[in-house]
């Protein structure tokens, strides 16, 4: 059911802005490549090829098997303390620089088809508050952990959080932009698509690891990280920094 709802947005997005299945594949591949570096990832030893992606079974067209996240039983924890208390802890602290929740006016249920532009979702609302409280912007983000229950959420989120313009999220994924060394390394543990689907909580922990320098796919000298919850549905986001 959520797959169908997001597939509906994905089809419209592809129609309106010329995004392609190759763009969605770029997202799936980046996540899988990072999972292949992460021994704790469910897909650690399972590389993905374009051939596998393009010939996989449909779930809800235009989304195929590899556009959908894993199903995982898992548990994670995140300890939040004051800045003063954090100084005395054993591990290097990572700071919540900005946090925001987003729900557009009159948003109903999960995905809301009843506004002027359903492709402009809660990420836009959350982003406004997130950046308002921050002293850096999208172009200063070193690494991103963007909620990926479905690949199509990534181009929408990239636009919503200001990494590119309206309709440019598909093209943003080209040229290895989401890979290590790319413009914005994405979901460096493998994310919900390839590490584990724990409702996005693992994205928070991976953001912390990046800023501590302990990720299995470490972005050199990462000092800022965006972590988001899902686009299309009521959402939230944080900016982490060390």
């Amino acid at each position: 059911m959520p797959a169908d709802e997001i597939a509906m947005l994905a089809r419209r997005y592809m129609h309106e802005y010329g995004a392609t299945r190759d763009h969605l594949f770029n997202v799936a591949l980046a996540c899988r490549n990072r999972a292949n570096q992460n021994p704790a990832a469910m897909m650690y030893e399972r590389p993905l090829t374009r051939e596998m992606y393009m010939t996989s079974r449909w779930i809800s067209e235009p989304l195929c098997l590899f556009d959908n996240c894993l199903e995982t039983d898992g548990a994670l924890a995140c300890v939040i303390v004051s800045k003063e208390r954090a100084r005395d802890c054993r591990n290097t602290p990572v700071y919540v620089h900005s946090a925001a929740q987003g729900l557009p006016a009159q948003h109903h249920g999960m995905v809301n088809y009843w506004n002027d532009d359903p492709l402009t979702g809660p990420a836009w609302t959350a982003a406004r508050h997130l950046w308002k409280q921050a002293d850096f912007g999208p172009h200063d983000v070193d690494v991103a952990q963007i909620y990926d229950a479905f690949t199509a959420l990534i181009p929408l989120s990239l636009e919503g959080y200001g990494f590119c313009g309206r309709g440019e999220g598909g093209a943003f994924t080209e040229g290895g932009a989401l890979e290590m060394g790319g413009r914005l390394p994405l979901n460096t543990s493998g994310g919900g698509l390839s590490e584990a689907y724990v409702h996005g909580f693992n994205l928070i922990n991976e953001g912390v690891k990046q800023l501590r320098g302990t990720s299995t796919a470490q972005v050199p000298d990462a000092s800022t990280c965006l972590v988001t919850a899902g686009e299309g549905v009521p959402t939230s986001a944080i900016l982490l920094r060390n």
């Binding site: 169908d4 509906m8 419209r12 449909w58 809800s60 088809y113 009843w114």
Partner: protein
Amino acid sequence: MPAPGESPSLLSPVPDDDGAPFWEYAAQGELRVQACADCGELRFPPRPCCPHCQSFASEWRLMSGKGRIWSYVVPHPPLLPAYAEQAPYNVIVVELAEAPHIRLVGNLVSGADASLNSLPPERVRIGAKVQVVFGSTGLPQWVRERT
């Protein structure tokens, strides 16, 4: 009531107080959308208060039943058994001619009471003009508009 030949286990709407009139009109073959009785703004899904002027007075306005396909998907199994039997079929979101921001979910079918898979998915196009039809289930379905 399920249509003849249709699986009885296809899901039926579960109306709430706000949405009940929508289904009552649909059962009579009318597509009506809730509108503010003060400022006239259409709204969907049905709810007590007008988001435009905050009035609680509402009425149900008759629509032409014409619209365009805004987007569509083709679900594949695993699905509920009655749906899996008919997969692959299309699910469309239609924007209404009178109010494009009001979008209704349904299926593009060959006629009232036709099966979900009565049209091949490759016949579905974004932007195609469609017209509402009501079968014996009272569920709004869509057919291609005849010009």
